[in-house]
């Protein structure tokens, strides 16, 4: 599904959109958008006016009517194109929703039923080759699952009962083994269904800011309606009998048709952009809220650091050669498949040219890490069952116990080194061989490249970043400083995360976080924006209001930007739309009065050809600007992370000042053209 956004005017989208633009003329749909509804009523009145107009003016009124209808159609077209692009995205999602047969378990017996009749709580069985019929949780077994249908990622993923990787999505395919799934969503309520509805615009609910903006636009429309209606009696008194089509033209030009026509397209396109980033959002509200977020809680691992700690140095104990320490450290890590273990082997090779040996050559057995021993290592068996030498590496406290129980001493200087490494933010692993403490390996978190710059940008945008980690406070502080986060939470438990979120919210902040485990669910639900990883549990996914299909925690930053961009686009086009009124006023008002008061000619500062050409030009400009701005509405206003004041100044200049100037030029040009074509 990861796909390039369709080009702005892909014929496959534009073609059907033209048809949809007409279908959307249904008054019951139009009434949801007060600005365009008023425009449509105006267009209808003007159409009637064609038949009652003087024959000399009939062509003028007919042209007016045509352009007024175009205004409505262009707005509908904008919405239809946005929906069309969403549908194209949704189509690939929907392909994943092919009708499948499910193997439902009932009273221990398996029965074949069509997937759509599955209900929440049903148990279904899936074996290699089966398509998972619905969203659910694995309650039994482990399987590798191909999720390419929704994530576009071809490598299969492991899904197993219990733990943090238990969620499966309907439409994905089981590649191996057998799992039993408890269905967690009825047909139509799954993640895919919700997202499809959102990007298609079908069940799109207006976001809070969109509602507020709609109220503003509706109120402006009502005020301008009042202005135009009362202008009729004022005109009668003044001896200027304004005709209905002319008053309609003035009304349509003054009401904010530009933003009114593009408003829903902006919202749909915003959701579409979220989906292009491979994120499923549960509502537009969540995406909009992401733009407001000013505190980000980020898991250290995977977001800020590369996920794994790497060995960066060996610190031998007094009287031990570096070489020996490295050799033992490598020996203890030969069979250690953790990234940390591998990095020790690599470092020993790089620094001391020690080649990795094979375990069986050494007749060694691996002693894996356990939560009880908190150590791992190898036992060497020279010739017998009894180990001749035991090499261990692990946390300082654990190794001290190991050495002391063997009758050895834990040197003071090693303890000191351990402390120093901790202070630097590293993780010390002490290596010992039986009763001899050999020294310390220094492991360090590797901060992702470019992340510091990204946090600096966020700071400029007024967003505070908080790193969450299970590390001790010392380590956490060092990494936090290196990554440039504003704050950190060390030794964080799910309860503490929840508390922290509540605390930030009480101070008036909006908080976003990412999470995957079931224990993250309360915090995800509490956060204003909770992004659950697709690899996570169903509980986490239900608690969050977005799911990142790529399970990439850095994605949160993209979502914030999309949320902001949606609002900026709305605000900028509103400003543009209102600022346009000045030029339209100068085009239409003198034209309306010219016949009665020829002295008013100097007010025609654009020197438009004639009253009819002036009014037509303004109406045509008003219609064409909607088409011209569709790409902007779909793409969103360019957004660069910078301070609010800088953004405001930039957008005020482009859309406010630009909105004042552009229509003067546009209307004049249109007037020249229609005059040349003898239409005015």
């Amino acid at each position: 599904m990861t796909q390039k956004p369709a080009s702005l005017f892909d014929w496959n989208i534009v073609g059907p959109a033209i048809g949809d633009a007409f279908k959307k003329l249904n008054p019951r749909l139009m009434v949801k958008n007060p600005v365009m509804f008023v425009t449509m009523v105006g267009a209808a009145l003007t159409t009637v006016g064609i038949f009652t107009a003087d024959s000399a003016l009939r062509s003028f009124v007919a042209q007016l009517a045509i352009w007024l209808w175009f205004t409505v159609l262009f707005a509908n077209f904008a919405e239809a194109v946005a929906e069309g692009r969403g549908k194209a995205q949704a189509a690939s999602l929907r392909r994943a929703r092919k009708e499948t047969m499910a193997r439902r378990l009932r009273n221990g017996r398996e029965e074949k039923v069509p997937a759509p009749i599955l209900h929440k709580g049903d148990l279904v069985v899936c074996e290699a080759g089966d398509i998972i019929p619905a969203d659910g949780d694995v309650v039994e077994g482990i399987a590798s699952v191909d999720e390419a249908a929704i994530t576009g990622e071809s490598a299969p993923v492991i899904r197993e009962s219990g733990g943090d990787r238990s969620a499966v999505t309907g439409g994905t395919r089981v590649l191996s083994d057998r799992i039993v799934i408890r269905v967690t969503a009825d047909k139509g309520a799954g993640f895919l269904d919700k997202m499809i509805a959102l990007v298609e615009g079908a069940r799109r609910q207006k976001t809070p800011n969109e509602i507020a903006l709609t109220i503003l636009l509706a109120a402006l429309t009502f005020i301008f309606l009042l202005v135009c209606v009362t202008l009729k009696p004022f005109g009668i008194y003044s001896g200027a009998a304004f005709s209905i089509p002319v008053l309609v033209a003035l009304l349509v030009c003054l009401i904010p048709t530009t933003i009114g026509g593009l408003l829903s397209a902006i919202g749909i396109a915003g959701m579409d952009r979220v989906l292009q980033r491979n994120v499923l959002a549960m509502s537009g509200r969540a995406v909009e809220a992401a733009g407001d977020v000013d505190v980000l809680l980020l898991d250290k691992t995977g977001t800020i650091t590369l996920g794994n700690r790497m060995a960066v140095g060996f610190h031998p104990a007094p009287g031990v050669e570096s070489n020996d320490l490295a050799a033992s450290a490598q020996l203890s890590s030969l069979a250690d498949e953790t990234p940390e273990g591998r990095s020790i082997v690599v470092l020993a090779k790089e620094k001391f040219g020690l080649r990795a040996r094979e375990m069986h050559e050494l007749e060694a057995t691996f002693v894996p890490f356990t939560a009880q021993t908190r150590m791992s290592g190898v036992d060497l068996h020279a010739n017998g069952a009894q180990p001749t030498m035991r090499v261990r590496k692990g946390a300082a406290e654990a190794v001290r116990g190991f050495v002391e129980s063997a009758g050895g001493m834990f040197p003071q200087s090693v303890a000191k080194t351990v402390d120093e490494i901790s202070h630097r933010g590293g993780t010390p692993l002490v290596v010992a061989s039986d009763m001899i403490t050999l020294g310390t390996i220094e492991l360090k978190d590797v901060v992702k490249g470019g992340i510091k710059e990204r946090f600096a940008q966020l700071r400029k945008m007024g967003i505070k970043t908080v790193m969450i980690t299970g590390d001790n406070p010392l380590t956490a502080a060092a990494i936090a400083a290196e990554a440039g986060v504003d704050d950190f939470m060390a030794e964080a438990t799910p309860e503490q995360k929840l508390k922290r979120i509540r605390h930030e919210q009480a101070e008036g902040h909006l908080v976003a976080m990412t999470g995957d485990g079931t224990n993250d669910a309360p915090a995800l639900a509490q956060a204003d924006v909770g992004v659950a990883m697709n690899t996570g549990t169903q509980a986490a996914r239900e608690a969050g209001n977005m799911v990142d299909l790529d399970s990439n925690p850095t994605k949160l930053l993209d979502i914030v930007e999309i949320g902001k961009q949606m609002l900026i686009t709305r605000g900028s086009l509103t400003t543009f739309s209102i600022a346009n009124d000045v030029a339209k006023y100068f085009a239409i008002i003198p034209a309306m009065l010219m016949a009665t008061f020829p002295e008013i000619a100097p007010l025609n500062i654009m020197h438009l050809h004639s009253p009819t050409s002036a009014i037509l030009s303004a109406v045509i400009f008003n219609a064409l600007i909607i088409i011209a701005l569709i790409p902007l509405a779909l793409r969103g206003v360019a957004y660069k992370p910078m301070g609010a004041l800088a953004i405001l100044q930039r957008n005020l200049l482009i859309y406010g000042f630009g909105g004042l100037v552009v229509p003067f030029i546009g209307i004049k040009l249109i007037d020249l053209i229609i005059t040349a074509l003898h239409l005015g």
């Binding site: 509602i211 507020a212 009362t230 733009g291 961009q565 609002l567 400003t575």
Partner: protein
């Protein structure tokens, strides 16, 4: 536009800037139930006694609904009270001239007018009202309607400054404290000063003077109702009279003029208002009257800054007001100085400008300045006849009123009107920076936008609706003494002045008819109380909101960018509504005048 005008303008601006902070700081104390002022020893006991008499618990705060209801009830009672006094003035004391009872529609209009701080006068005070009616029926309202406006703005500012709360202060406490600690003492000082300038303050019957040179005048014949008798063609019937004696007005003028200016009431003691030598005796009295019109409104912006702990925001709002004020003064002054080309053809020196309807004592600059000040604030006192201004010069007062009286504005009303625009500016700008809009940390949501727009809608409906009705109805046209665009301006001005609670008039309109008395009365009531209700609802919503701490992601509501944004919002959202109608009035008239046509 001579140098002396520029110097006076500079002095006026400097004086205005200088009084803003002290007034704001004093308002901090006055609008705080526990505030301390140097008048406490005298007024505290009186204040406490008042609360006891009214049965008010001073530290019990109101929710926005309780606050609004208290204000509405108080205004209703006050309105009925004044109506009763006017209807019964022939039976009440202090009526040495023996005026009869005021008729029903005029009494309604006048009661509504003074309750709403408008002071539109469809009567000549010196020829209609007894001293008792002036002092008790009207001056009472001059104080409490001003105090009501200040109280409402204080409540709105509190709602912005406080957070996560339900209440916005106690209306009765605000009303009493503003009247006792602010209006009464300042008026006392101001009145004494005005008396020192030559203004009268007595209870004598009118003086009669015998004219040295008797003169013949044509006067309109009136029926017993006081209406002009018209002939078949609709023209007023006139008769010749020889005048040998002049009635010279007397009475308690200084006390009423002080509050008329300070409280932006504007109702003149005499019909000629501040153009009358008694009501405005010296250049200094003229200057101080203008300054006192702006004093409280200007101080309230400082109060805003202080309360929300962002003094720069207060000054930015002040700056927006002052820039709009300057624009008006300069345009009006320029238009009046440029004069009327038709006069010039008749031999009037171009350099004299348009002196029609102006006092020679004040000249063009001080008339233009006064006209701008009195219409920026919803005062309505005049020292020249706006009707006689050039079309463009008359456009300025009309436009000022139609913006919603937000340029410094009526006491309190100016600030709460401007804050509506601030909320709208913040909303649009907030979207443009990509966050749910926040005003001083409070999110501006659908409900707030709805209430802000509702108040603008009410202003537009009141002005345009009534004016459009008047302009095509026989009752409306009956009052017109001028035709053409000037007649339209007069009607537009009347209903703008009413809805904006200004009270000044384009004098060509005969407003004392049952239809005008009734519609203008309603216009004033709508423009005042229907505006306040959504604004108080906005306050009720804002006070409950949490405050998000400012960050780099919130744009500042002070400084040049916000100033431009606020001005743009006021001009685009506030003014575009009225421009089409204004084009048919003063704008067309200006072009016609240049073409040699007058109305």
């Amino acid at each position: 536009m001579e140098a002396s005008g520029w110097i006076q303008l500079a002095i006026f601006l400097i004086a205005l800037a200088l009084i803003t902070k002290p007034m704001g700081l004093y308002l901090m104390q006055v609008l705080d139930p526990n505030g301390r002022t140097f008048l406490d020893p005298v007024l505290r006991p009186l204040e406490r006694a008042t609360y006891r008499a009214m049965g008010v618990t001073p530290n019990e705060d109101h929710t926005w609904k309780q606050y609004t209801l208290a204000m509405l009830l108080f205004s209703l009672v006050g309105c009925v009270f004044t109506y009763a006094i006017l209807r019964l003035q022939n039976l009440l004391p202090l009526n040495p001239q023996g005026f009869t009872a005021v008729n029903t529609d005029l009494a309604f209009n006048t009661a509504a007018s003074f309750t709403t701080n408008t002071n539109w006068q469809n009567y000549g005070g010196e020829s209609t009202l007894s001293y008792f009616s002036q002092m008790v029926g009207l001056t009472f309202h001059n104080f409490v309607s001003a105090a009501t406006g200040i109280a409402i703005s204080g409540a709105l500012v509190r709602a912005i400054a406080w957070h996560s709360a339900k209440t916005i202060g106690n209306f009765w406490v605000d009303l009493v404290r503003v009247t006792y600690y602010l209006l009464l003492p300042v008026c006392l000082v101001l009145a004494v000063f005005l008396v020192s300038q030559g203004m009268i303050q007595n209870f004598k019957p009118y003086a009669k003077a015998t004219l040295v040179e008797p003169m013949k005048v044509q006067v309109e014949k009136k029926n017993e109702r006081g209406e002009t008798i018209k002939d078949a063609s609709g023209k007023a019937v006139t008769e010749e009279q020889t005048v040998t004696k002049q009635n010279i007005v007397q009475g308690p003028m200084a006390s009423q003029v002080a509050i008329k200016m300070l409280g932006t009431n504007g109702g003149g003691y005499v019909n000629a208002n501040a153009a009358h030598p008694f009501e405005n005796p010296t250049p200094l009295s003229n200057f101080l009257q203008m300054l006192s019109i702006f004093a409280i409104g200007s101080g309230l912006t400082y109060y805003l800054g202080r309360m929300v702990k962002n003094q720069k925001h207060g000054w930015t709002v002040w700056a927006a007001m002052v820039i709009l004020f300057l624009g008006g003064v300069l345009l009006c002054w320029w238009a009046e100085s440029s004069g009327n080309p038709i006069h010039q053809h008749l031999g009037v020196a171009a350099v004299d400008g348009n002196m029609e309807g102006k006092e020679v004592r004040f000249g063009i600059f001080n008339s233009a300045l006064f006209a701008t000040v009195t219409t920026d604030a919803s005062c309505g006192a005049v020292n020249s006849m706006h009707d006689s201004f050039t079309a463009l010069g008359g456009f300025v007062p009309l436009f000022n009123i139609q913006l919603g009286e937000i340029i410094i504005g009526g006491v309190g009303a100016g600030l709460y009107g401007m804050l509506v625009f601030v909320v709208l500016a913040v909303f649009i700008a907030g979207l443009m920076v990509g966050r749910t809009p926040e005003y001083l940390g409070k999110k501006i949501e659908a409900y707030d936008v709805k209430m802000a727009m509702l108040s603008l809608l009410i202003l537009a409906i009141s002005i345009l609706g009534f004016a459009a009705w008047a302009i095509v109805s026989k009752w409306g046209l009956a009052g017109l003494n001028n035709n053409g665009p000037h007649g339209l301006s007069e009607i537009l001005y009347a209903f703008s002045s009413g809805a904006g609670n200004n009270g000044s008039a384009f004098a060509g309109l005969s407003g004392n008819t049952p239809w005008y008395n009734t519609t203008l009365g309603l216009d004033m009531l709508f423009g005042r109380f229907l505006m306040i209700v959504p604004i108080m609802a906005l306050a009720g919503s804002l006070v409950q909101k949490k405050v998000a701490p400012p960050s780099a992601g919130t744009f500042p509501v002070h400084g040049g960018t916000f100033l431009i944004l606020l001005l743009g919002t006021v001009l685009l959202i506030g003014a575009l509504n009225f421009l089409p109608a204004l084009t048919l009035g003063p704008i067309v008239e200006q072009f016609l005048m240049q073409g040699g046509k007058l109305f």
